[in-house]
Amino acid sequence: MSFNNLDTLYRQVIMDHYKNPRNKGILEEDGSLTINMNNPTCGDRIQLTMKVEDGKVSDAKFEGEGCSISMSSASMMTQAIKGRTVEDAIKLSKIFSDMMLGKEYDEEDLDLGDIEALQGVAKFPARIKCATLAWKAMEKGLNEDSQ
């Protein structure tokens, strides 16, 4: 593998989200969902806070420590789910999971936006867990909230 292959992993847009994370912080409002998740094998951690109103994710913020892939993925994830219905956010998480497994995924009517830049992670099996951490946190929070 040459450095050219690395470019499929470290895309410009990923590095932009890593250096300038969107939605960094903690939602302090009452009724916000808080999810803490670790990747125990490598020490990455994320604290995700989300506000759900009328079946929609009205706001989402994250704090955490981790590599470029995990932190950029968290940034992109919060950006992607804000304003979406809970159902669509969970659907997006499934699409993302398929993308990481290198499966064909159904884009349907959901605009993936920046997230598609993470496609290259599928070729680096050791890094898939980095990319999915924030998404797992989101899915866990929304699933628990709707129960």
């Binding site: 450095f3 292959n5 690395l6 490598c42 990455d44 951690r45 892939i69 050791a126 890094r127 980095c130």
Partner: protein, 409 residues
């Protein structure tokens, strides 16, 4: 044998990874295996696989001889007084858990103290946390000096007459520092405590003499010292092992079984319930033969040289921080580092693209990461098959990593 001749004996090293010759710098996680070990395992399964200690038949006798012969090799390797003091386990983790679960639970109560250090591996932390919770004993931590070493002054202040168990690693899997466990053992004994040594990173790299260290227990794993995975050793002083109860019960470890009561075999077998790890022990025996052939003094000198060379060359990389003592003479072949502005996972991924295998993460030492005030680090670790050329490639890879990440930003 020089490092190049030694390297030839490790078939796995002769391959390309991602289009580049493999540079394996992750031996602190697990070492590679020489042909002698691979052949010993193969021979056992092809020629004399059989259960031990029970067969009257010829293969059973050969397997028992192989298994018990390996125990004698281990005894000599660490200079234990007798084979009764050498227990085969699944690895360092099981060895330490056995001491905590058996000796710890039986001998600790409220008001007693267990002393470990901030640099311990999780396997030398959690068993003590659990036994402290179960018995009401207090878990105390030996502080570290600024460079990550342990001072005997701190050991004297932390270990008290209430301390019953002191457990410290001989070589740190992160800082590479060699700890003065012999001196700490003396302080422990002066206070009436027993001394447990986690030897996972020392047995593969240093000449270990358990009688000279005067430790009460010594734990290590085969897979970090050229042997197979799944087997390790617990050394314990005979008078302590004799008073301890087994942790696992079943076949192999019994003397007499009644309906409601049973008695145990003598040492060391009372701690080896179930069919033992026969092939593993034979493989470990072959690894010890190999290490003896190379010579532990030679190996130790080679690693000191590599550590010194690595620290010198790596410090030329701009923005690179090396953790642990700066003095290479007090280090085994482990160099843990971070590259400014690049997360260690990203460092490891770029190095992997160059065929260089390093470890990134918390190295099963989260309290130490907290002490270092980092969430993760990268680690290069060396063994007898590594050369200065490997380190040159690592340094070149690190320079490329830096360039790559300054380009993509």
């Amino acid at each position: 044998m020089n490092a190049r001749e030694i390297r030839e004996l490790f078939p796995i090293l002769n391959q390309e990874v991602n289009g580049n010759p493999l540079v394996y710098l992750d031996s602190a996680a697990t070492s590679q295996k020489p042909v002698q070990v691979i052949e010993a395992l193969d021979k056992y399964y092809r020629e004399y696989n059989s259960n031990v200690h029970r067969g009257v038949h010829t293969l059973g006798t050969r397997a028992t001889d192989g298994y018990e012969g390996a125990r004698e090799k281990v005894r000599k390797f660490i200079n234990a007084k007798s084979i009764q003091e050498v227990i085969f386990t699944r690895g360092t983790t099981t060895s330490l858990n056995t001491v905590a679960a058996s000796y710890g639970r039986a001998n600790l109560s409220e008001g007693d103290e267990i002393v470990i250090s901030y640099m311990e591996h999780h396997s030398n932390i959690i068993p003590w946390q659990q036994v402290a919770k179960a018995t009401g004993a207090t878990l105390k931590y030996l502080p570290l000096q600024g460079d990550g070493s342990i001072s005997l002054e701190d050991a004297k202040n932390t270990i008290t007459t209430n301390t019953k168990i002191v457990s410290v690693m001989q070589v740190s899997n992160v800082l590479g520092v060699i700890n003065p466990v012999k001196e700490i053992a003396r302080i422990a004994h002066e206070n009436g405590a027993i001394m447990v040594v986690d030897g996972a990173q020392s047995a593969p790299h240093l000449n270990v003499d358990v009688q000279d260290l005067d430790c009460d227990f010594f734990a290590f794993s085969s897979h970090k010292m050229c042997g197979p995975t799944g087997i390790g050793v617990l050394y314990g002083k005979k008078h302590l092992l004799e008073q301890m109860e087994p942790v696992e019960f079943g076949g192999e470890m019994i003397d007499f079984v009644g309906l409601y009561e049973s008695t145990w075999k003598e040492l060391p077998w009372k701690f080896e319930g179930g069919t033992p790890i026969i092939a593993g022990a034979i493989g470990l025996g072959a690894a010890i033969d190999f290490l003896n052939e190379v010579g532990m003094e030679h190996l130790e000198a080679h690693e000191h040289k590599l550590a010194a060379y690595a620290m010198e060359k790596m410090s030329t990389v701009e923005g690179l921080t090396i953790y642990g003592p700066k003095d290479a003479s007090n280090r085994a072949g482990v160099v843990t580092f971070n590259l400014e502005d690049v997360h260690p996972h990203d460092v490891a991924t770029v190095l992997d693209a160059e065929g260089i295998a390093v470890r990134a993460g918390h190295h099963c030492a989260q309290p130490l990461m907290k002490w270092l005030n980092v969430s993760a680090t990268a680690r290069a670790s060396f063994y007898l098959y590594n050369t200065e050329d490997d380190i040159d490639k690592l340094v070149a890879g690190l320079v490329k990593t830096k360039e790559y990440f300054s380009d993509v930003f």
